[in-house]
């Protein structure tokens, strides 16, 4: 009999332990990421988290509908990671207001803006008021994730914030960050070596989506297909670019996967295909896969290096 009781208690114990595991599993942190690159970074530091990614590489992150599905996702979030610098100003405030989730309101520790952790390029204070000047981000260019060095700074700050938010996992997060940091620095050196021939290369691009990449690799964007930041290319502006570029075509015309390729294709044809037309993802394609960020940088460097 005592054996039976013992067995029973041990069975009970196992079930209880199992339930505890189930609870702690169901209490895995839910993180809302405005852009896929931040989801990929969160995956590195907090692999077991439940991730809601608001946008993907085929969407323009400036122009997202504040859809009901996104409100529900933000409602469920323990923390949110977004770019800031007005990138999400057309939709995130509506999500925050409708979600009624105090954890991710402005000023709450659960809301992390990556742009606030690095120095942005091309800040233009006071220039945002003119309605005819296009979509100017006074704080600076928000597409900072295309610079792996800045990405590492973001990783450090996000790792600290995550440790504060989830103290039970402090050590594990810190350890994952250390591993990531060491490997990432080594890879930056490798990438820089591989991309050395690209130094000084001139490109035309649509929008400032890759401005940080050009800056990192020592490349130069000599023309923008957009007449004003955020505005679609117009025939008049393209004609002007053609005149400018005809004698000295850029090495490549680079657009993102979410942009309409027609303007870039027209320009490339008019330049008699002397400039390589590249349509590249402006962020990671699938943030849930391992090493999404590293593979994205490799893809960019590979594409730019084929000439």
């Amino acid at each position: 009999m005592p054996i039976l009781i013992k067995m029973r208690t041990s069975i009970l114990g196992v079930t209880f332990f199992g339930m505890l595991l189930a609870i702690s599993n169901s209490q895995a942190q839910t993180i809302f990421a405005c852009e896929p690159e931040w989801a990929a970074l969160t995956r590195v530091l907090l692999p077991q988290a439940r991730l809601h990614v608001a946008t993907h590489a085929r969407q323009d992150p400036h122009h997202i509908e504040a859809r009901p599905a996104l409100i529900a996702q933000l409602r469920a979030a323990d923390a949110a990671i977004c770019t800031g610098a007005s990138l999400e100003s057309g939709w995130l405030p509506t999500l925050q207001q409708r979600a009624g989730n105090p954890r991710v309101q402005n000023g709450a520790p659960g809301l992390f803006f990556t742009a606030s952790t690095v120095k942005l390029m091309d800040a233009r204070p006071g220039a945002g008021g003119n309605p005819f000047a296009g979509d100017i981000h006074e704080e600076g260019n928000p597409h900072l994730h295309a610079d792996p060095r800045r990405l590492l700074e973001v990783a450090r700050a996000w790792n600290q914030r995550l440790q504060e938010l989830f103290p039970a996992q402090q050590a594990a997060i810190a350890q994952r960050y250390e591993v990531f940091q060491t490997q990432w620095q080594a890879r930056i050196l490798l990438w820089e070596k591989r991309a050395a021939p690209l130094q000084g290369a001139k490109v035309a691009a649509q929008h400032g989506s890759f401005a940080y990449l050009w800056n990192w690799l020592g490349m130069q964007q000599i023309a923008d297909l957009e007449p004003k930041p955020g505005l679609a290319p117009t025939p008049g502006h393209l004609q002007q670019l053609l005149e400018q570029l005809r004698t000295k075509p850029p090495a490549a015309i680079v657009i993102t996967s979410y942009q309409d390729a027609r303007a870039a294709r027209w320009l490339s044809q008019q330049l008699e295909n002397r400039a390589l037309l590249l349509q590249l993802p402006a962020t990671v394609n699938d943030p849930e896969t391992p090493d999404a960020l590293g593979r994205w940088f490799e893809q960019l460097i590979d594409a730019l290096s084929t000439r």
Partner: protein
């Protein structure tokens, strides 16, 4: 008027202190202005735009945080109406941001959340005039002084339930009857989600209970003699709802499509709204009701170009002493909009009203050209 102006003073004084504290953080007060200039060939029946060049719903808006727990917004509107420049505070509210359990509360003057369009600022509309439903039953855009409590449920899809209490002045077309306290109550729920990357949807159901109509009835009895003078006066700038009742039910549905959810280059938006108003007055039987239906479709076919069509239907029971006359009106609108950026839009709209019974001013055809320009910060858009 006392409550909003007090609130306004309190908010203005806090803005500057809040501004000082917020420097350097991601969150600051934002200021913006919107200009709407519209030229119309002929005024529409139940319309808000007069013939000729007019200043439409143009506003000056300030919004931002009051500490960590509150969000505030003030919006002053100017518009020309029958040759006169009219000014008003359209919004002046405070909203909580840190209540638990998905709750949020709002106090002040704001637009009711019933229906799909009512909460949207008119300058963000896809058409020059609101649907007949809004013009007939809600004074085009119903904003009022009141309170709101909303709950966003912790479901996988979006589910919101909310209730509001308002003074309800704008819901009656005639002289304001004496009702103490809140004159109108609403209950609304919205559900929505994504079907896949390209398709999203939302449906809503709202109910409005209007106490002012009943009061208007009694008032009507007592002041029969004055009624005509007041009527004339009120009609010259009636902003209130033209057709009211004790209860109103509203259903709305929206479906949006964009390839891969990337609405920058292409998008289709479909919206349907239907309303039924009952309890028109004490002579009304259950058969007497007002009904309206609106169906709109807009297609962004190029990054800067949109084309859209809207079909409106209105059926009302027009009270006449102790009986009713049937009123009918149909309206169709076709629009083409050029939006070189989201701060500017130029819209050409053709409207047609037909099948009018009981509406003498129905315009057979009307052409409108509208230009909207936004300065400074423009608030985030709703779905």
């Amino acid at each position: 008027m006392n409550k909003p102006s007090f609130l306004l003073a309190a908010m203005l004084s806090s803005i500057f202190s809040a501004q000082a504290q917020q420097v350097g953080s991601a969150e600051q007060w934002q200021f913006g202005a919107v200009l709407d200039a519209t030229s119309t060939s002929r005024a529409l029946e139940l319309g808000t735009r007069d013939k000729g060049l007019q200043l439409g719903h143009s506003d000056l808006t300030a919004s931002g945080p009051l500490g960590r727990h509150l969000q505030a917004q003030i919006s002053a509107v100017v518009a020309t109406h029958e040759g006169k420049l009219e000014k008003s505070f359209e919004e002046a509210w405070l909203e909580t941001r840190t209540l638990p359990l998905g709750l949020s509360a709002r106090i002040g003057r704001f637009a009711s959340q019933i229906g799909y369009l009512n909460q949207q600022h008119p300058h963000a509309d896809d058409f020059v005039e609101r649907p007949l439903l809004y013009r007939a039953f809600l004074g085009s855009h119903w904003n009022d002084d009141g309170l709101r409590l909303n709950l966003t449920l912790p479901t996988k899809f979006y589910w919101m339930v909310g209730a509001e209490a308002f003074r309800g002045h704008k819901l009656v077309a005639h002289a304001d009857p004496a009702v103490s306290g809140a004159g109108a109550f609403t209950v609304a729920t919205k559900i929505g989600g994504d079907l896949n990357r390209s398709h999203s949807w939302q449906v809503g159901l709202s109910y409005l209970k209007n106490r002012r109509i009943a009061a208007l009835e009694e008032d009507h009895e007592e002041h029969m003699d004055h009624e005509h003078e007041e009527d004339e006066h009120e009609h010259s700038h009636a902003h209130g709802a033209q057709f009211g009742g004790k209860q109103m039910w509203l259903i709305d549905g929206t479906w949006k499509w964009a390839p891969d959810g990337n609405n920058q280059n292409q998008q289709v938006r479909l919206t349907v709204e239907a309303a039924r108003v009952t309890g028109i007055n004490r002579f009304a039987t259950s058969g007497q009701k007002h009904e309206a239906l609106s169906l709109s479709a807009v297609w962004r076919f190029q990054p800067a170009w949109e084309v859209g069509a809207r079909f409106d239907r209105l059926r009302v029971a027009i009270p006449h002493e102790d009986h009713f006359h049937a009123g009918r009106l149909n309206e169709q609108a076709l629009m083409l909009a050029w939006k070189p950026s989201h701060r500017q839009s130029l819209r050409l709209q053709l409207s047609r009203q037909h099948g009018a019974v009981g509406f003498e001013q129905a315009a057979r055809r009307s052409v409108a050209l509208q230009y909207v320009l936004a300065f400074g910060a423009h608030g985030a858009h709703t779905y």
